[in-house]
């Protein structure tokens, strides 16, 4: 059994990358359509990655080379590790809990910060600073959401409230009343709102803001290293979508047998697609980039207050 799991790890990793790239391609087509363009073919991200992989990998003179080269690898690896803890339409490979995932989610962002500081460019430096501020601001509403759900489970007397298995097997909507339902809707919306920041798409892509700081963190990256960061980004979309699905929509189709597993997988991907479309593609084409002060304000004040309100509704429901 353990061998199967070990064998499945690279499979899941590759699957995550492929699904991520595929979504990235669909995302580009949909974004293009919303901008009245035809858009690139679906396989364009694969071609991009191939091209980046065969390009020269430039390491700037000013950088700290070992950190500079390590960070893209670490970033992609940590993103894929999260994937192993998440249900992919079937049981997750590794047993973990929500707190662990919260921590793991920070690692790719931290990698980017360190990458920015180690590249020795002013643009990257500004980008890294921005990424740190961003991280601090969106982490808080995210934590509130996850803890509220765990709190809901605790008060319902369910064992292991933080474990992912518990979350999947007990859909949170079924154990609440009206006000709790509203609270969950609010929390879901907050989580959806954290998604673009986590994925660094346009209203929140300040660390990379190409028109302001010329690519920011990634300013000095090229070739293979850039490809790894790009891959980490697309896998992260899958990861974050899966987290939301696990928390809020862990439903399957309940068809027995091998067809059931396949159907669940497909159903899962459809859910994922819808989430990525709303949380990333649509927001990306609809808004302009915010300023760092505006980002901090949106997350620290608006999102935190809204998520606390959601928590309050759940508390009222439980009492």
């Amino acid at each position: 059994m353990i061998w199967i799991k070990i064998l499945l790890i690279p499979v899941i990793g590759i699957l995550g990358i492929i699904i991520g790239l595929l979504y990235s391609g669909i995302d580009r087509i949909l974004a293009a359509r919303m901008q009245s363009r035809v858009g690139p073919p679906v396989i364009q991200p694969f071609l991009d990655i191939r091209k980046l992989m065969i390009k020269e990998n430039i390491i700037p003179e000013n950088s700290i080379p070992w950190l500079f080269n390590l960070m893209p690898v670490l970033c992609l690896a940590s993103t894929i590790v999260i994937l192993l803890y998440l249900p992919f339409g079937f049981e997750p490979l590794l047993r973990g809990d929500l707190i662990l995932i919260l921590y793991l989610l920070i690692i790719p962002a931290l990698c980017k910060v360190i990458a920015g500081f180690s590249s020795g460019s002013n643009y990257a430096w500004v980008g890294a600073q921005r990424e740190m501020v961003m991280m601090m601001s969106y982490e808080f509403p995210l934590a509130i959401t996850i803890i509220s759900i765990a709190y809901l489970f605790t008060s319902e007397g369910i064992a292991n409230p933080f474990s992912i298995q518990t979350v999947i097997s007990n859909p949170c909507w079924s154990i609440t009343g009206v006000s709790g339902f509203l609270g969950l809707v609010i929390l879901f919306l907050v989580l959806l709102f954290v998604m673009p920041a986590e994925l660094a798409v346009i209203p929140f892509d300040l660390p990379e803001a190409s028109q302001e700081i010329a690519g920011g963190i990634l300013a000095e990256y090229s070739g293979r290293n850039l490809a790894l960061f790009y891959l980490a980004g697309v896998v992260k979309a899958v990861v974050f979508g899966s987290i939301i699905i696990a928390l809020f929509f862990p439903y399957g189709l309940n068809i027995p047998g091998i067809t059931g597993i396949l159907a669940d997988l497909v159903f899962f991907f459809v859910k994922l697609f819808l989430l990525v479309f709303i949380g990333s593609t649509f927001i990306r084409v609809a808004a302009s980039r915010l300023k760092i002060s505006q980002v901090v304000y949106t997350y620290w004040f608006v999102s935190v207050l809204v998520s606390l309100f959601g928590l309050l509704l759940i508390v009222i429901d439980i009492l």
């Binding site: 901008q35 700290i64 302001e212 302009s288 980039r289």
Partner: protein, 370 residues
């Protein structure tokens, strides 16, 4: 850790341009502390081609072709300024229809230039959709240029001394009217997008008071956004502008948002002007101007001013009776907007505001460097 700190001092220099996704062929050296710009120094010259000198060695018709390249974004307006300068020296009577065509083309070119501005502004703010839509709609106007002048971007001296180089084709009027409907649709779209895009990023950013605006030499939409109602088309009229009915939008705030709004209203006014010109366009056939060699420009000197999309443009032309001008001084609006105004506005703003301010001035490095 120490190594990192040494590499990352608290105050440092950041280059905005020339090879930067948010700038044109132009660079600003920003001295930055944290996220704040302490001082800015413009560093122009990446597009210096020496037009004033080049024009001294070419005759009027060749200069007309050359004047396209003064600013890539609105070649027809520069065509008109050059043609007017020569016309004023030769005192030649321009056919009525040619005047109408000139104004028509210039206003189409203004719409097109403002659309580029909208695209560039959206791009600077990270709003990709606006960029792509604006350039998509601009292409409808480029189709018109292709039909009328024979080239999409460069009209090759379409407006030349003595009139225009070709008559309007018969199908032009209908097509222009159709395109104007499209432009109104685009304006509606800009308005629909406003609350999520331009408004939150530009309001209160880069405020320019009227006193500063006059001292720094701001013209056109920028000074109008600061509260001075001035427009060369109205104050110093040329061609058939006195006969046309159009508003001059003015706002008092003087910030980047006001500048954006002014340009949007100007787009609307330009669409109106195009419609009026089409209504009044004389029906008779126009004899196109053919180039001639050794056409002498009479002795004299003139200073011609025009309102182009970016502000006030002018040509000082001195002729000593040769077929080539003795001296041509070109006054582009961007020289003052890009150096004193930009340096003034960038002082004390955040890095994130730099593209917003830069593009709200709608500057073109080509007509600054010349």
């Amino acid at each position: 850790m120490r190594k990192m700190r040494e590499k990352n001092p608290t105050s440092y220099e950041l280059l905005f341009g020339p090879a930067h996704p948010g700038s044109g062929n132009f660079s600003v050296r920003l001295r930055i502390e944290g996220e704040r710009v302490v001082s800015a120094r413009a560093d122009p010259g990446y597009l210096h081609r020496g037009f004033e000198k080049l024009m001294e060695y070419r005759n009027a018709m060749q200069n007309s072709v050359l004047s396209d390249r003064l600013c890539i974004l609105e070649p027809l307006n520069w065509n008109l300024i050059h043609a007017e300068a020569v016309d004023e020296l030769t005192q030649e009577e321009i056919p009525e229809k040619a005047k109408y065509i000139r104004v028509l083309m210039v206003e189409l070119s203004r719409i097109q230039s403002h659309l580029i501005w909208y695209g560039a502004m959206s791009m600077g703010l990270g709003f990709d959709t606006g960029f792509k839509l604006a350039f998509g709609y601009r292409d409808y106007i480029l189709d018109l240029f292709e039909l009328i002048t024979g080239g999409r971007v460069y009209p090759a001296g379409y407006i030349c001394p003595g009139g225009v180089r070709r008559d309007l084709p018969d199908s032009a009027e209908g097509r222009i009217r159709k395109v104007m409907i499209k432009m109104e649709e685009m304006l509606q779209r800009c308005e629909n997008f406003e609350t999520t895009t331009i408004l939150p990023r530009t309001r209160g950013v880069g405020t320019l008071s009227l006193k500063d605006a006059i001292r720094l030499g701001a013209t056109g939409p920028i000074i109008r956004a600061s509260g001075l109602k001035t427009d060369v088309r109205r104050d110093d009229p040329y061609e058939i502008y006195p006969e046309l009915d159009f508003e001059i939008p003015v706002r008092r705030e003087g910030d980047a948002y006001a500048r954006c709004m002014i340009r949007r209203q100007e787009l609307r006014e330009s669409i109106n002007i195009v419609k009026q010109v089409l209504d009044r366009m004389p029906k008779e056939k126009l004899k196109p101007v053919k180039p001639k060699l050794n056409q002498k420009i009479p002795e004299g000197e003139v200073y011609v001013r025009n309102e182009i999309a970016r502000g006030e443009a002018g040509i000082y032309m001195k002729s000593t009776g040769e077929d080539k001008p003795y001296r041509c001084k070109i006054r582009g609006p961007s020289l003052l907007h890009m150096i004193p105004v930009l340096e003034h506005l960038l002082k004390g703003c955040q890095i994130a505001d730099v593209p917003a301010i830069y593009w709200s001035l709608n500057i073109c490095p080509a007509d600054m460097d010349r």
